[in-house]
């Protein structure tokens, strides 16, 4: 497939997101309105909502999660955007990234000058068992689900293939969880915005308050090995290897390059947008890599005219800890079989050579599935503009990447961002 350059410059000029978490009293539209209101107040030179020409909405399954289909026009109406065209994109947990790519294409093509890209998911209203089944329907329900697979199970299977091929131990994955919780603790929007040691202290305080014997963990490693505190979900993945069930929304305002200065003097350009598809997990030659991630990254890098070595930071799809390890290799940052060592050596930490998931990632920030791909763009925008507060990476960030995955890599979307 020939890689074509974008037809014209596309810039992000403002972002907004709701807090990610569990909000029993907030419908999907309430979360979307929250994100939109933040965006509205965050564009440097302000903007008139009537300037928006189209809405691209990432949403996986409002139908099953909250009994509401046809979300895009309902979101448009909730913030007074009718009658502009509004469409929902669904590619499982990559829905947000796919919506972003469609928005980029709409602006790059000249079809629109100003578009709103958003993602929303309200998940916690459903009981956990039904959430498991709803997420499971993003897999092949005819041939994968009858085997008893769940999403933690699929990624656990990837982990066993990886362990067998490269010698990784389950303990190595804990480095990813510890790092992402350290980052998330500095993100006020994060669902679990606490470090694992802080989490432990909370558990101890709660036990004492209830008059129960206080747990005595030596350190965070001891805690993560405790089968009661960190139970097995799908061996080798435990609870703290898994992203949570979340409610949340995020949005970005995309405009043509020539109009960017109407909105801000500090835009972030999207210069590459790649997407690829793949068969169910069992039908792949190599179970230790997501070939759709490699394909999407190759497209995005070629379109942007950059290589993996040029990228300063990345937001990657860490729905499970093993997914971040594999993504760090698939994006070309580390050689196959070495991503887990890079995480252990601190290379992916905020002060490392290649910071990954400074937002806390899906693991700590939360994973409202249709919103996650857009939430990644929100973090990249803030980091590139130096507005990430306590979690800000030091130094200039000329180039960054976001990586969003649907199911086990049946869909992967990669975007490359540039700060000029």
């Amino acid at each position: 497939m020939a890689i074509r350059k974008l037809g014209r410059d596309v810039a992000i000029v403002g972002v907004g997101m709701s807090k990610f978490g569990a909000f029993p009293d907030k419908a999907g539209r309430d979360l979307f309105v929250e994100a939109f209101r933040e965006l509205r107040g965050a564009v440097d030179k302000g903007f008139d909502p009537t300037a928006i020409e189209a809405l691209y909405l990432g949403n996986y399954s409002s139908d099953l999660f909250e009994g509401q289909g046809h979300m895009a026009p309902i979101m448009a109406d909730a913030v007074g955007l009718c009658p502009i065209p509004a469409m929902r994109l669904e590619d499982a947990c990559a829905s947000g990234g796919v919506a972003l790519r469609q928005g980029v294409m709409a602006v790059a093509s000249g079809m629109h000058d100003v578009v709103l890209v958003a993602g929303v998911e309200r998940m916690t209203k459903l009981p956990t068992a039904q959430v498991t089944d709803t997420l499971g329907s993003a897999a092949d329900t005819l041939y994968e689900i009858p085997a008893g697979f769940t999403f933690p199970g699929f990624y656990a299977a990837i982990a066993t293939a990886y362990m067998h091929k490269y010698g990784m131990k389950p303990e190595h994955l804990m480095n990813v969880a510890i790092k992402n919780h350290q980052n998330g603790a500095l993100n006020p929007k994060a669902q679990f915005g606490v470090t694992i040691p802080d989490w432990m202290q909370g558990r101890i305080a709660a036990a004492i308050k209830k008059g129960k014997p206080a747990p005595t963990w030596r350190d965070e490693w001891d805690f993560l090995h405790d089968a009661a505190a960190n139970p097995m979900v799908a061996w080798p993945l435990r609870l703290f290897d898994c992203s949570p069930v979340s409610d949340g929304a995020a949005c970005v305002l995309l405009v043509s390059g020539e109009r960017a200065r109407e909105f801000t003097d500090n835009p972030v350009y999207v210069i590459g947008a790649g997407q690829a598809s793949d068969a169910p997990l069992h039908d792949r030659a190599d179970l230790t890599t997501l070939s759709a991630s490699r394909g999407a990254a190759a497209q995005a890098y070629a379109q942007a005219g950059v290589t993996a070595n040029d990228i300063r930071i990345a937001e990657v799809h860490d729905c499970f800890t093993i997914a971040e390890v594999v993504a760090s290799e698939d994006l070309g940052f580390f050689a196959p079989g070495t991503g887990y060592k890079a995480a252990e050596d601190g290379m992916t930490a905020r002060d490392g050579a290649r910071p990954i998931n400074t937002s806390g990632g899906l693991k700590s920030k939360g994973h409202p599935v249709g919103a996650s791909g857009v939430g990644q763009a929100v973090e990249v925008f803030k980091q590139m503009r130096g507005e990430a507060g306590a979690r800000q990476v030091k130094g200039d960030i000329p180039l960054a990447v976001s990586h969003n995955v649907g199911a086990t890599g049946s869909t992967c979307v990669v975007h490359v961002y540039e700060k000029r």
Binding site: A129, T132, P146, G148, T150, A157, A159
Partner: protein, 141 residues
């Protein structure tokens, strides 16, 4: 005498074969490639001259997990945190890979050394006569 009817290349046909305790894939004669699950169109040459082929049922374990928190269908079968089960990806002797339940291993003592162990097909019948269905499984040893 009439020609025997060729079953359509669908999941319903695959499941019907499973109920007959046959593991059936499809083969593209042009590519000499075998597909499981069955396909109506060859993904390599896009030809449509596929034919059903019965697989040997032998294979090896390519990847697996021991699941402690299962989907509601597995919970209904009695699996839970105290009674985990193993799901895996099996590489068949014919080369194709498929998701399946893995039997004959201790789900409480998963070991990555299981990868590569030889497996043979097993058919797990569930339910009563009218509602009976057969689940694809592979057994170690």
């Amino acid at each position: 005498m009439t020609e025997p009817t060729i079953r359509p290349f669908t999941a319903a046909s695959f499941n019907q074969y499973l109920a007959e305790h046959k593991l059936m894939g499809t083969r593209c004669p042009a590519c000499n490639a075998t597909y499981l699950p069955p396909r109506a169109i060859c993904p390599r040459c896009h030809g449509e001259a596929l034919e059903w082929v019965e697989l040997s049922g032998g294979g090896k374990l390519a990847a697996f997990t021991s699941i402690y928190v299962g989907p509601s269908a597995m919970v209904a079968e009695g699996y839970d945190r105290n009674n985990p089960y193993v799901a895996g990806i099996v590489e068949l002797a014919e080369g194709a890979k498929i998701s399946a339940r893995i039997l004959g291993v201790d789900a409480r003592k998963p070991d990555v050394a299981w990868i590569g162990i030889p497996l043979s097909v097993a058919f797990v019948d569930r339910g009563e006569a009218d509602t009976q269905s057969t689940v694809l499984a592979f057994s170690a040893g």
